[in-house]
């Protein structure tokens, strides 16, 4: 397999984008990605595109991308894999280039979660991910889907609500200095704990906002990467993992087996382990999920996530900064765009261009877990050589 490089990355600010539909968001995002290419890239040089979108808005996703971005003469494939959509799109494009079939690919992810009233959003989303006969009528909404895991996790490992709040405080803090973040405000542990309750251990400030947004990466084979940049970021590992779709069929809810499988595949492909990672953008749709991610991704032993967050190691400046962009929690979460945007952040971090720049990281990891906690995607990127 050939090496694959990220040669460009761009996005639009996450938030409520009532003024822009898919047809407006996508071309702007593509233009931003093309503009980031050091030596320039023409739209016509893109040979294939993968479009990550969870919910359709403005109609047939692949067609809308091709039509609105002037990509009518290349194959466009829509990827939908719940919240793992973005990193799965990265994976598909990477494998296509690695295989030798193409040299230059666009990965773009976008969603507009605010296109329908929030009252119907609950049922729309449940309709995408729940069995119509069994789980759907019970009202297993997205936060409950994760909260059932986190409640058991907290019970088994004596994790306190304060530990969850520390995740929210950290990620909100990081978002303040990120101009494309949806929620750019500091919060305190006390505020998180006192916020109105949503589901189980999660209050409003433990939850991701509903965001609109889009993000794009331009991938190129090692053979042609130097046409575009002298500082390519390398896609070293991609992994996708799955798990049982019904909670009743999951044996141990204190872990996400989908994550451990995706991580194992990505680490093995990259030839590295968790201790090599210098920066991670992980799925923190709800504060407590980030703690479980630490363990499933191998950043600490089972049950030790609370010690990791207490130690400050995952803050900017710590030994393993997690979600320096603000994460889903504060940067925002338009599901199709989320994984791609994580890679945009890592692209900038690994090239020394990030808004919250870390001290010369070499290895970056992006991670999503989604659907009925049944699918996870992990991407591992390496900094430019030398």
């Amino acid at each position: 397999m050939r090496d694959v490089a990220v040669v460009g990355a761009g996005m639009v600010p996450f938030g409520e984008r009532f003024d822009q539909g898919m047809k407006e968001l996508l071309p702007v995002t593509l233009a931003n990605a093309l503009a980031s290419v050091d030596k320039g890239m023409e739209r016509s040089e893109i040979q294939a595109a993968w479009f990550g979108q969870l919910q359709t808005s403005d109609g047939h996703p692949a067609g809308v991308l091709a039509d609105s971005c002037g990509l009518l003469d290349i194959p466009v494939t829509r990827i939908e894999n719940q919240c793992a959509t973005g990193n799965d799109a990265v994976r598909n494009a990477t494998l296509a280039i690695a295989s030798g079939a193409i040299d230059v690919a666009l990965v773009i992810g976008a969603d507009k979660t605010r296109e329908t009233p929030s009252v119907s959003t609950f049922w729309d989303w449940m309709g995408l991910a729940r069995d119509r006969g069994w789980d759907y009528p019970l009202g297993l909404i997205a936060p409950a889907n994760f909260a059932l895991h986190v409640a058991r996790y907290m019970h088994e490992y004596d994790v306190r609500p304060e530990h969850l709040a520390m995740v929210a405080v950290k990620n909100h803090h990081n978002a303040v200095t990120n101009p494309i973040a949806h929620l750019r405000m500091e919060v305190t542990v006390e505020q998180v704990l006192a916020a109105p309750r949503v589901v189980g251990p999660f209050g409003v400030l433990d939850c991701t906002p509903q965001s609109d947004g889009a993000a794009a990466l331009l991938l190129a084979s090692a053979e042609v990467a130097d046409r575009y940049t002298d500082h390519p970021v390398w896609v070293r590992g991609v992994g996708l993992g799955l798990d049982r779709v019904m909670h009743a069929h999951k044996a141990d809810m204190t872990t996400f087996p989908a994550t451990t499988k995706a991580a194992k595949a990505a680490y093995s492909m990259a030839g590295i382990g968790p201790s090599d990672i210098d920066v991670a953008e992980v799925h923190d749709c709800f504060s407590g999920v980030e703690l479980m991610d630490y363990e499933d991704l191998g950043f600490c032993e089972r049950g030790d996530a609370k010690k990791l967050i207490e130690s400050g190691a995952t803050k900017i400046g710590g030994s393993l900064p997690v979600n320096p962009s603000g994460g889903l929690k504060a940067k925002g979460h338009p599901p199709g765009a989320t994984g791609v945007a994580q890679c945009v952040e890592l692209f900038e971090q690994l090239r020394g261009e990030a808004c919250n720049q870390l001290d010369s990281p070499r290895w970056g990891l992006a991670h999503n877990i989604g659907g009925p906690t049944a699918v996870s995607a992990v991407t591992i990127l390496e900094a430019p050589r030398g």
Partner: protein
């Protein structure tokens, strides 16, 4: 004819001393709540469900009742309309092995009672007369929310109840159901702790007579509805009475639907899930592994389609639990979701928590899986099991 055993159920919600059904309770679930404890212990040949005001007329789930009670197709379930007098009539006429269920759903009198009939033993019932009159003091048309009421209780007493009780009165102590306790007292009847004037009241009356509260020896039970009445001589023999009546919780704490919304419904998906979901039936593989909801692919051995249906216990322990505080359109909230480890198996069940507001659930807590109307989707009631904790939150609050 005799009553071998009785079972009584009242919803937990209380308003001015009276009980009110929960948002996930209806005639069907109240009937199952009362009948299930008897069906678990005794063979049942037939079910007669009597209520004065069915909430579903066409498409009433008699098949849901049969499966929730664990009965085969050989035990028919019949829905009848009638008041307290009709309920006593059914009890007098039912064959041995019949499970007679009376349900009242009206706010303020929500209750259900069930009786298992036998050929002797238990409470002996014998016919003691009937009167078929007509005094339409209350008339509610089908589909109408409110009844037209002739608002003069004295007229009702003078023209209907007093003459009726006079004609049906026995030699010994006479008890009346179908009238308020104060009205019964005014009519010269002995007092009985009966929470409703409807058909369920007869079962509560029999339970009182069969639990030593009544005077020794034979009693006359008169059941009234408007100007009709039925009377039975009742032996005050002690009989097994199963009671599911928890201390009341103010109805203000009852979950409610804040925003109605049409929840999409798929009939084929309902049909595929039906037998397992309503019967609480898992799939057991030849290798011994059990799954619920039933799976084609075994969780343990990976083989497909080697399973046989296995009814699950209705008891278990909470593996994990969350309360949903945020209002969800179309679901009465706040509501709870629990994953329950079912007794005697490795199976876990995802279920809503019953009566949130009256009782929470906690990880490790034990409880029952009870049939509830989980949702109404495009007009179709969707039944399933909810977890009801054994821990009584009211008692717990008192002792705390």
């Amino acid at each position: 004819m005799s009553v071998a055993a009785l079972s009584l159920y009242r919803p937990v919600w209380e308003s001015r001393g009276q009980r009110v059904a929960g948002p996930d309770e209806d005639v069907l679930t109240l009937a199952v709540a009362a009948a299930r404890p008897l069906a678990e212990q005794h063979p049942v040949a037939r079910v007669v469900l009597l209520t004065s005001a069915p909430d579903v007329l066409e498409g009433f789930g008699t098949g849901v009742v049969a499966r929730a009670l664990g009965l085969g197709d050989a035990a028919p379930v019949e829905l009848r309309i009638g008041g307290a007098d009709a309920a006593l009539g059914v009890l007098l006429e039912a064959a041995a092995g019949t499970l007679v269920v009376g349900v009242d759903l009206a706010p303020g009198s929500a209750a259900a009672g069930a009786a298992l009939m036998a050929d002797g033993g238990g409470i002996l019932l014998s016919e003691a007369g009937s009167v078929h009159g007509s005094l339409p003091m209350r008339v509610r048309h089908a589909g109408a929310q409110l009844a037209a009421v002739y608002g003069d209780g004295r007229v009702e007493r003078e023209l209907a109840t007093a003459p009726l009780v006079e004609r049906l009165r026995g030699e010994g102590t006479t008890y009346v159901v179908g009238a308020s306790p104060s009205e019964a007292k005014r009519l010269g009847a002995a007092p009985l702790p009966v929470p409703t004037r409807g058909p369920a009241g007869v079962f509560f009356a029999l339970a009182a007579l069969g639990s030593g509260d009544a005077a020794e020896g034979a009693a006359r039970l008169v059941a009234l509805d408007a100007a009709s009445g039925r009377a039975a001589d009742v032996s005050t023999t002690s009989v097994e009475v199963l009671r599911d009546e928890r201390p009341g919780v103010p109805v203000a704490e009852r979950p409610s639907i804040t925003q109605p919304v049409e929840i999409p419904f798929s009939m084929p998906a309902y049909a595929r899930a039906f037998e397992a979901k309503i019967g609480l039936i898992a799939a057991t593989c030849e290798c011994g592994a059990t799954s619920f909801p039933p799976r084609q692919l075994c969780l343990e051995c990976g083989e497909t389609e080697r399973t046989t249906p296995t009814p699950l216990a209705r008891t278990g322990e909470v593996y994990t639990y969350v309360k949903v505080h945020v209002p969800i359109p179309g679901i009465a909230g706040p509501y709870g979701l629990a994953i329950v480890s079912v007794d005697d198996t490795t199976v876990r069940v995802l279920a809503q928590v019953a009566d949130v507001g009256a009782r929470e659930a906690r990880i490790g807590e034990r409880g029952q899986l009870v049939l509830r109307r989980v949702a109404v989707r495009e007009g179709v009631p969707d039944y399933g099991y909810a977890f009801r904790s054994d821990v009584d939150a009211v008692e717990e609050r008192k002792s705390a």
